[in-house]
Amino acid sequence: MKKEKYNSFYALLLIIGIWYILYFTVDSSIITSPGAVIRVFLMNFSSEILPHLLMSFYRIFVAVAISLFLGVGIGLLTGMHKKIDKFLSPLIYLLYPIPKIAFLPVFMLLFGLGDRSKIILLIVIVIFQIIVTTRDGVRGIDSNYFASARSLGMDRIDIYRHLVFPAVLPGILTALRITIGTSIAVLFFAENFAVKYGIGYYIMNSWSMVNYLKMYSGIIAVSLLGYFLFKGIDWLENKYCSWQKISDKF
């Protein structure tokens, strides 16, 4: 635990160090002093940044929760049932590569200018990753485990509960890590349209007002949001998938 804290501290020092090097070597007002940015960040955090950050967190949380619920469900069904997989796989393969971010104007017209269109955009972007990871995770389960489960007298629900879900959980958490990174990037873009709150809006608004100190404060806030979300996933992994680390070690 102590070592982990030290690692995070080391990463922070390295980033600030590189930032200082750029600040002293690049002769441009767009590279501001890290010290000044941190001061502005601390000063404005609770009054200005936090409401924007909470709004972004709410959008990501709702979108990821819905994507997980639907994506894991569809992934489990396609992994377990060949007929469903045969029907859904071509649809997934056709829809997955489409740059869905281009559909934001369509979603805004269909679902309104508010949160709903942004959340739906996030869902259609991240859900495919979760579906494919879950489905492939199910396919990768050794058939001996199914024989073992059936020999214990497990019915279909027991098999999902005691075998399939725990087996694919590490993969789902990995997919969650990737989708959270994607979600933050997508949200940054989406929050530039027809919103008054959201960290993407805060950053771009500060930039257009040539307030680089506030712009960088917003970027720090996004970074911290990502950091705590990733730490949350690490916590879930340690709590529910600690067996995997042991299996990897032996």
Binding site: A147, G153, W243, I246
Partner: protein
């Protein structure tokens, strides 16, 4: 206990088992021996209800088998333990599925852990255990269900010679105390001679002979001459071609 009649099984179009017939009395053990790919594991899966026969019938305690049976314990070749469950929860799983109360599960699992001398590993995951310890957990997971029939698919094949003998002794010890019937699939001649009341030699999907083992359960059997004689006989059975002497011996049993 077990009655198998005219059993046939094909995987896709390949015939795996052909006209299998045998009987096993209550409390008896049957060792099924044969080379890899001879169909012995398929036969065990049919007895467990994990596969369905194309023809013929399997009766256990006079009841036709059409699926998984509640009182049959199964130990699979690679132990079949779930890596995401601790030793305790692997043992508790079968009881949980059968709807046992939490306190009863705790009592039964702790007793089994104690009997198998694996209490100290109850909070460990299977990946943290040695082969022998994993095997004890697999045995415990079946025994905790108090089965009247235990089916084992090459359970000790991955163990070193000494641990294997230790596990064979353990099975005999538990068997003599709990008096269940068991069927063991193996390719190890010494194991078949040590653990089988009856020993079925199977080759290319057919039982070519069933030998009786009058020395089953004798003390220090491994050091006795009869044990080596039986192994010699089995070795001969396994390498002989069909017909001739083979058929003659079958009539003798």
């Amino acid at each position: 206990m077990i009655e198998v009649k005219n059993l046939d099984f094909a995987y896709q179009k390949e015939r795996v088992l052909n006209n299998i017939n045998f009987q096993l009395e209550e409390g008896e053990s049957l060792a099924i021996i044969g080379p890899s790919g001879c169909g012995k594991t398929t036969l065990l899966y049919l007895l467990a209800g994990l596969e369905q026969a194309d023809q013929g019938e399997i009766k256990i305690k006079s009841k036709l088998i059409s699926g998984i049976r509640e009182n049959t314990g199964v130990i699979l070749q690679d132990y079949g333990l779930f890596p995401w469950k601790t030793v305790y929860h692997n043992l508790a799983l079968g009881l949980k599925i059968r709807g046992c109360a939490k306190k009863q599960i705790e009592k039964k699992v702790n007793l089994a852990l104690k009997r198998l001398k694996i209490s100290e590993f109850k909070n460990k995951y299977p990946a943290e255990l040695s082969g022998g310890q994993k095997q004890r957990v697999a045995v415990g997971r079946s025994l905790v269900l108090a089965p009247d029939l235990l089916l084992m698919d090459e359970p000790f094949s991955a163990l070193d010679a000494l641990t294997r003998e230790e596990m064979q002794n353990l099975i005999l010890e538990i068997h003599s105390r709990d008096n269940f019937s068991f069927v063991l699939v193996t390719h190890d001649i010494a194991e078949a001679a040590f653990l089988g009341h009856k020993i079925a030699v199977i080759r290319e999907g057919q039982i070519v002979n069933i030998l009786s083992n009058p020395h089953f359960g004798q003390k220090n059997l491994r050091e006795k001459e009869e044990f080596f004689e039986l192994q010699k006989k089995l070795r001969k059975q396994m390498t002989l071609e069909y017909g001739g002497e083979n058929q003659h011996e079958k009539r003798e049993v």
